[in-house]
């Protein structure tokens, strides 16, 4: 199958992943567009026979991280960033349990970036720990510990029964 055709096939899943990272539909499709443009430009770097999906997820995730960092440097603080500094990680315990029980997007937005991407890859996209670690280029132990923290925060924010 042609490179482009494989990307077309991957597109629905990639949009889902991007939505989880970027939050809004518009930003997610902008992220997908940037990722596809990047992939088309650097297609020589993809080795035929290796998994195209992992490669595309890595490109998408790296573009998103770049954008988040650039926004941080520009001093653009979205409400999401404020929420993260206030209640991410241990601070989440201070927010009432079940405070966001009807708001999955809101709960995800409150996770630190490095937890959100692991939650999306493993719990939504269904990647094995090993595959998620390869996409993110971190050790497996890092994946499992970030995943555990992300899970606890989400269960807390969404309420016991999630």
């Amino acid at each position: 199958m042609r490179f482009e055709e494989q990307l077309v096939e991957l597109l629905p899943r990639l949009r889902r992943f991007a939505r989880g990272l970027a939050g809004s539909a518009g930003d997610a499709d902008d992220l997908c567009q940037a990722a596809i443009e990047r992939a088309l430009k650097s297609r020589d770097q993809w080795q035929d026979g290796t998994r195209l999906d992992s490669w595309m997820y890595r490109i998408t995730r790296n573009l998103w991280i770049d954008e988040r960092r650039a926004a941080g440097r520009r001093g653009v603080h979205t409400p999401i960033d404020d929420a993260v500094t206030q209640i991410a990680g241990d601070g989440a315990a201070e927010v009432e349990a079940g405070a966001l029980r009807d708001d999955v997007d809101g709960a995800l937005a409150r996770l630190p970036d490095e937890q959100r991407e692991v939650v999306m890859l493993v719990l939504v996209e269904g990647y094995a720990y090993r595959e998620a670690a390869a996409i993110l280029e971190v050790p497996i132990g890092t994946v499992t510990s970030r995943l555990a923290r992300g899970r606890e925060t989400l269960i807390h924010l969404l309420g016991e029964a999630a």
């Binding site: 629905p12 889902r16 518009g26 719990l123 939504v124």
Partner: protein
């Protein structure tokens, strides 16, 4: 509990070797705390999966496909950003129309008698709006004000499709048998949605104990509904 929460999480994620996975499953049958922990994690995963499932079924926007199919259209990101503000794509209108229809058929029936349960020869079965919700409503796509909210859908050990639900006066788990939903668990419902969460914790534990394998994801739920909850 002899399994730490990392192991339980790995169990849910399918990361354990068969032997350990079987030990956990066996132990959960007699250890309510472990069963509850498993149910908690399963419920989170099911909720996230259901939340994002509709995106995969959408037709990707033309500007993304255009980058990849033959006659390429040059689309600059800036132009697109300007153009998309305040505009609903047809898919959105479709979704709105669909939720309106669902809302009309399921949500707004104050005139219906509250006969959600019937007695079929000594067995409690769902009827009325509850039966209709169990038959047709998808957890991944239900109106916020639906009278009955569907929770998890799964197969039990007898191979039946079962679904947990929460409504105004009744919450529980129904399993599809013949043409009916046999009510396997019933709890008193909560009058207002805000109070319903307490019941769903108990139901999630019951569901975890009944279920064979994982809960249905959104696609499987839709497929099962379309086949009338039979094989």
């Amino acid at each position: 509990m002899t399994f730490d929460s990392a192991t339980v999480a790995a169990f849910i994620d399918g990361e354990l070797d068969d032997l350990t996975a079987r030990r956990i499953a066996r132990e959960a049958a007699s250890d309510p705390a472990l069963a509850a922990e498993i149910a908690r994690h399963r419920a989170l995963k099911a909720r996230l999966t259901a939340h994002f499932a509709p995106i995969v079924e959408e037709e990707p926007p033309g500007r993304l496909r255009a980058l990849l199919v033959e006659d390429r259209v040059d689309t600059s990101l800036t132009d697109r950003r300007a153009a998309k503000r305040g505009r609903f794509a047809p898919i959105h209108w479709g979704a709105i129309a669909a939720s309106l229809v669902l809302g009309l058929t399921i949500g707004l029936r104050p005139w219906m008698p509250a006969a959600d349960v019937a007695d079929a020869g000594g067995t409690l079965v769902a009827s009325g709006a509850l039966a209709e919700a169990l038959d047709t409503q998808l957890a991944s796509n239900q109106p916020a004000d639906a009278m009955v909210r569907i929770g998890l859908s799964f197969r039990d050990r007898k191979g039946r499709y079962c679904r947990s639900f929460e409504g105004g006066s009744l919450a529980g788990i129904g399993c599809h048998e013949g043409e009916r939903w046999t009510l396997e668990r019933t709890l008193r419902g909560a009058p207002r949605p805000a109070y319903r969460q307490a019941a769903s914790g108990d139901l999630a534990v019951d569901a975890a104990a009944m279920m064979a394998g994982d809960p249905l994801n959104a696609a499987a739920e839709r497929a099962a509904r379309d086949k009338g909850w039979t094989d």
